[in-house]
Subunit: 539 residues, 2 copies
């Protein structure tokens, strides 16, 4: 169990083959820096010369002076030519990386169908390319494409490919399940065969998730002798994605006893995964293993009362080991124990036995029945609980809003909002435009309040989601709006529900501002501001 394992990250190369994933050179550099902090051993940066982004990446990544080895990806030389004349191999060398990932064919069917050459020429292409890269002083990682399909179709040929690569001096022979169709017991058997044959190179594994088995297949290969694991963060990659390093790393380290990263680095896993999903602009599924926001979230009443006694009852690891945390979800399935523990988490004094507690619990259930969902709207829930506990001071009173959208054939659409609030006894009436109705409302609402609470200028809306709750009635059905807001240090989520999308958005907007003001009242007293109460606030 103490054999050293290498983590090979290909988020920047194979990961970008995923639908909807596109990374600029800047994005790639940021991600490389973050992966290096996490402690992965190899970072595959891209395909030199395939596009200007990758050229820029390879040029600038050297300045970062990372610990991880940067590798460049490319194919074996073209058929019937010399490796020394191959433009592609030349670009890999010129990129200045210490290690090259060279992909070659190991499935006879592919040699015939895709390469359209002979089995012998393919072996020569592999040998020549590896030998040439080795002569240039590079570490060579040979990715045997479709190795498992190849082995199943023609084991002798697949093994001869690997022996040829070993003979040429490849440092690593990586078995790729390119189409993602191999079962874990097959991986185990086939890797075991190769491990019994190869002595001069180390073995690696590269799997895809088409059968939802990429993580299992990676572990199978490690147990059978592979020591390099190729994958991507969050499992990004073509079709169903590559093997997800965010699951593989903690499985290896916390379950199988390998020391892959330093424990302090492992604690960066959740943070790294979320950072990369932000940069890639891909929504992370809440239920993503280990790093998702729901990975250690508990909804059932019985489960919640058990984890309050001992978290091991329903958690397979301590979430802190991977930098995640436990959450208790509030939902109609849950008993009042969920709500009470949530209140405690928020530091609200909340006696489950008293009358107002029971009233707020039945109010929350009623709101959920109407379509509110507090699982994703902690701030709205906190406002309800603080209100019930009597400690919430409302800093403004709603009087009215009007929202107008107008479009004529010859001009762009215009959105305007008019908001009237009562702030500390004074009626404040503001108007604002926006590039959409919700943006206009947001602008008008902040305009009304910002003179009283200048701290509001530090917050902004960072996410806006709309969901139609019941499709049956089409445009007459209810919608739920979820808003995420941020300031320099925090983010919070609020919810609104209505059959009217504008009203639902307004509710969530107002809760966002009310929540922001919870902090504000503690920091400053608006009466001390020089311009409070002057005509300046009526804009």
């Amino acid at each position: 169990m103490s054999k050293a394992l290498s983590i090979f990250d290909t988020t920047l190369r194979d990961g970008t083959q995923g639908e909807g994933i596109s990374l600029s050179a800047d994005d790639k550099l940021k991600i490389a820096g973050k992966l290096d902090q996490l402690g992965v051993h190899y970072i595959e940066g891209g395909i030199p010369g395939s596009n200007s982004k990758d050229i820029e990446f390879f040029k600038r990544v050297k300045e970062l002076k990372l610990q991880a080895k940067i590798t460049a990806f490319g194919s074996t030389r073209r058929k019937d030519s010399l490796a020394e004349h191959d433009a592609n191999l030349k670009r890999m060398i010129e990129s200045g990386v210490p290690a090259a990932t060279l992909v070659g064919k190991s499935w006879d069917f592919h040699v015939h169908t895709a390469l359209q050459t002979t089995l012998e020429e393919n072996l020569a292409m592999i040998y020549d390319s590896i030998a040439y890269l080795k002569r240039q002083g590079l570490e060579v990682i040979f990715d045997a494409e479709h190795f498992f399909d190849g082995y199943k179709n023609n084991p002798e040929y697949a093994l001869s490919v690997m022996r040829k690569a070993e003979e040429a001096g490849a440092d690593w022979l990586v078995m790729c399940d390119t189409n993602g169709g191999t079962m874990p017991h097959e991986v185990h058997d086939i890797v075991s065969v190769l491990a019994g044959t190869i002595t001069g190179s180390q073995l690696g594994i590269h799997t895809h998730n088409d059968c939802e088995l990429a993580v299992a297949n990676s572990l199978s290969a490690v147990r059978a002798g592979a020591t390099q694991i190729q994958g991507t963060m969050n499992g990004y990659g073509e079709r169903c994605g590559n093997a997800n390093l965010c699951s593989i790393i903690p499985n290896l380290q916390l379950k199988l006893g390998y020391q892959v990263l330093e424990p302090e680095q492992l604690k960066q896993l959740t943070n790294t995964a979320r950072y990369i999903s932000e940069i890639a602009n891909v929504h992370m599924p809440v239920n993503q293993p280990y790093v998702g926001t729901a990975a250690f979230a508990h909804k059932g009443g019985i489960h919640v009362s058990a984890i309050l006694r001992d978290s091991r009852t329903y958690e397979h690891i301590e979430p802190e080991l991977v930098g995640n945390r436990q959450r208790v979800l509030v939902s109609e399935l849950a008993g009042q124990s969920n709500i009470v523990s949530k209140a405690q988490e928020m530091g609200i004094d909340f006696d489950p036995e008293n009358e107002s507690t029971r009233a707020v619990i039945s109010k929350i259930k009623e709101l959920e029945h109407q379509g509110y969902q507090f699982e994703g709207a902690d701030a709205s829930l906190e406002l309800l609980l603080r209100q019930a506990s009597g400690e919430l001071k409302e800093l403004f009173v709603f009087e009215s809003f009007k929202m107008l959208v107008e479009k004529t054939a010859d001009r762009p659409v215009v959105s305007e909002a008019f908001v009237k609030l009562n702030i500390d006894g004074a009626s404040v009436y503001t108007a604002a435009e926006g590039n959409g109705p919700v943006n206009a409302l947001d602008n008008a609402l902040r305009k009304a309040l910002i003179s009283y609470y200048p701290g509001l200028k530090d917050m902004h809306l960072s996410d806006y989601k709309v969901r139609v709750l019941d499709d049956k009635d089409a445009t007459a059905s209810k919608v739920r709006v979820l808003i995420e807001s941020k300031d320099f240090t925090n983010s919070w989520n609020t919810v609104g529900v209505s059959s009217n999308v504008i009203e639902a958005s307004w509710e969530a907007l107002v809760d966002s501002i009310r929540y922001a003001l919870l902090g504000q009242t503690k920091r400053e007293d608006y009466e001390e501001l020089p311009y409070a109460g002057t005509g300046l606030v009526n804009q």
Copy 2:
């Protein structure tokens, strides 16, 4: 490999423990009907008596006369009491189901910590509850909670729990990896031990995805002797979800050679998975194995030219086996052939070589770049293509719309829309209210047109979806609206995109009406209508 396997679906029970998943009784009945068509063998409907939804479900599901066995879920009797007096067991029996899923403890730690009773009393609770349900004529599926953690901590006790359940007459002993922390090789070893011990009951497996191994663990258990597989559609469930039946079923049938469903039923897999994600109102990840829209999508370059030669080069199965299809993500070449084949499908004469064809193809690409998606909006695509082919006659011209939403503290929100169209040279100006801004616009638009085209009264909007396209700019980001419309015989889908949700909705609404009018012009000539052209139309 020919041993019969039973698929046990718990989407309606364990699946609803997932964050963001909430199903009404109607939703549950629809899903049950769909699962039955797919051919699963058991459908766990819920917890009788836990809430009014589940009571209603068990009452109404009998009327559906499904092939699948419906099961009700509940715990063993309370400690230190009689099974015959247990309100929970009574409700399971009263629900009228043919089979009961009874959950009990098999981890000594949980018996002490969560149940707070003795190991002996827990065995008695299991024995009494099973024996009582059996005496009532029910098939009993015993779910041994935390069986793998229990076995690892105290193998003798975990096995004694199973032997006691067998002795009490349980039909099935189901090993649950409740916390989802067990590795596939451990599952294989532990199931093998149990399979060597139990002779009077069949074995089942129930896994969770906390290590991204739920599918692999289910397969491991089947290979070691389990014949019932519990899981959920799309892997819904608490924390990281339950084992995903959408991956397990095709893995068993297409990879391991088991006959789980009829081949025709397996072809319903994608459709069923997507239907359930719609009902559950949960976005299906594009890269979901087997059933996701990207599961067989190819993003260009070398892979695309290889799959055009032979799809086996980069596809592990034929997508049609599970009702999915190959997609080539938009690239110069693929885009054009897709669009031409789409036009032919619509019966539009479309020469790929002429100028206007090339113009509309680049327009469609530009629109897709802006966020339009025509895959779910065939009617909008058809309008674009008919327009390009010169055969579309526009029956009205847009002049303007205004939309007003107003709310004051003491009154409900009001939505009004004002629409001005030019219909056959006459300016028609209408106003309408609605219970939301889109409903008001829809009402005003139809009001303007219905006197000219009375056939429009037969159509209505049947579905309305809003999706935020770019989370980064929050309320200033773009939204895409998809509308489904229906008349007596057809349904059609349209799309609108804008940074303004009202404008996006308006676009999709207008396309819906324009598409409806394609048929109308063929059926009747509005000039023959007695009230056309009179003042009546200015409402």
